[in-house]
Amino acid sequence: MKITLPISVTIDEALFTKLQAHLFPGDHDEHGAVIAAGIVQTKRGTRLLAREVFLANDGIDYVLGTRGYRALTAQFVAEKADYCSEEKLCYLAVHCHGGIDAVGFSPDDLASHQRGYPALLDITNGLPVGALVFAKQAVAGEIWTTNGVFPLAKMRVVGRRIFDLYASPKSAPKKADRIYERNTRLFGDIGQEILGGLKVVIIGLGGGGSLLNEWLSRLGVGHIVAIDFDRVDITNLSRIVGATRWDALSLLTGSRWKLLQKIGKRFAARKVHVARRVARVANRSIVYDAVVGDILDESTALMARDADFIFLASDSIRSRLVFNALVQQYLIPGIQVGAKISSDKWTREITDIFTTTRLVLPGSGRGCLDCAGAIPPSRLREEGVAEEEKRAQAYVDDPEISEPSVITLNVLSAGQAATDLMMLFTGLFDDHADLGHIMNFARERKLEYVGQSVNQHCLDCSSTKRSRRGRGDSVRLAVSRQTVC
């Protein structure tokens, strides 16, 4: 397996807390564990995705060593390596040293890697194996692959605070560009540098997505990947930031001649190109990928695998399925935004006006959309049926009626979402902040937190064998192999 550099490990907060509690119980002694990790390889590097943590019991699995202080027993290593091989996961041995913010392997550690890891590579059928050594706020790693041995670049912890651990402290951040001076008064040059290093995917550049696009650009996010296949329509101008009548070719689409209308619709600007224009005005050094595509297509969905964060601003049940899968399978945090205006089917009277901001972190009980009931299987099926079949089945809604959509409502959910990203990466959330899904009922002027539901057998976030959590590239996303738009 050819490895792309740099190599990092991503771990969710629950597993990291479990590991830290085991390694640092306060006895200043050495403890061990094994992490079983999925793998994802992209141009941005190789990420090992911590799926399970096996704690080595002191005196049973982690014993006095013959050539070092302590060691994992051969039986423990064999069991976990076999497990990793069966599950197509990478094997990472873990132990701890003293110290706070700097750590490295001892000569005995490195010698034990030389002795054991070539054989482990055979057991795991060529999937990388390696070792991590922790200090309280540092981690170093050595990853063995069939193409060589490489150092670990960092470990990313994804939770209510998203942060990176290194082997030694990073150098001080550069002074931020003056345009961010007011930002840095909140989160410092270091916070601005973190935001500048982020790659964020925005799925859907309609009402909510276009707002996120501008705000994240102005916030200083360094790289945006915008995904949408749609073109600007004149009815979008009330909601899409930066869109103009020229983008919508309104002179043509507003013509009474059907041919001119058709030409207008065919050549109107793509929403992602409008978004790119807006982003570049806000941040001239931004890296911007405007992807004309559908997240339901495999090739497009796979572009999101190396993102630091994903926003879903396109409200179809199928896109929620793919988004949720990306979060859990690749351990990428994300937020789904939406606004809904319900009306009585017969009288058309407005019944409900609400917005949702659903933060989804990897791991069980962290906002999984499937556990929350936001991906109903029957609605998934309905959307999956071809338009002709839908008409034959009489499941289709009247195609002439579009859902209402108003920019000020989109602002409520997108604004919360953009702020959440900023708070997660700059570590500004209070320890007790409720990160549950938020519903904002505009008519009642009321904000409600939706309690976390947990399905112990969830196919996305649970720790059952069938779940996709942390499996990376070894399982397929629920996407089409063919272009669907």
Binding site: P377, S378, G384, A392, N455, L459, A478
Partner: protein
């Protein structure tokens, strides 16, 4: 087809061992399945029928419905088919559509084979 759907087709073959099962890929990762020679009981003539359905690429996350059967099936008592059965055109063929959505579809335990068995049982008892 996806590995989950390949397993689903195998499960259908195992659940209906005396029937012929044909699976045609839809090009998106899903497939169209036709199970022929299914016993639909004495209330109908003929007593055997074929059942066809589409398993979408999101399976097992997405429910499997509707199902389609032969338009020529008649009740021996001369009555009409019950609610949830209607004549439609599907894949350029006139068929009977059996609309049975699972309101509590559980992707962790429900399968296309179980769903087909339930639909057949429901149809037999209409």
């Amino acid at each position: 087809m996806t590995s989950e759907i390949a397993i689903a087709v195998d499960e259908i073959r195992q659940a209906f061992p005396n029937c012929s099962v044909n699976a045609e890929e839809d090009g998106q990762g899903g497939c169209y399945v036709t199970v022929s020679g299914v016993d639909i009981g004495a209330r109908y003539t003929p007593h055997n029928a074929s059942f066809s359905f589409h398993i979408g690429f999101q399976y097992p996350r997405a429910d499997v419905y509707p199902h389609y059967t032969d338009v020529g099936i008649k009740r021996v008592d001369g009555g009409g088919h019950g609610g949830g059965v209607g004549q439609v055109i599907w894949r350029e063929k006139t068929v009977l559509q059996l609309s049975r959505r699972s309101n509590r579809w559980n992707p962790a335990s429900d399968t296309a084979a179980i769903k087909l068995a339930k639909v057949v049982e429901w149809f037999k008892n209409l």
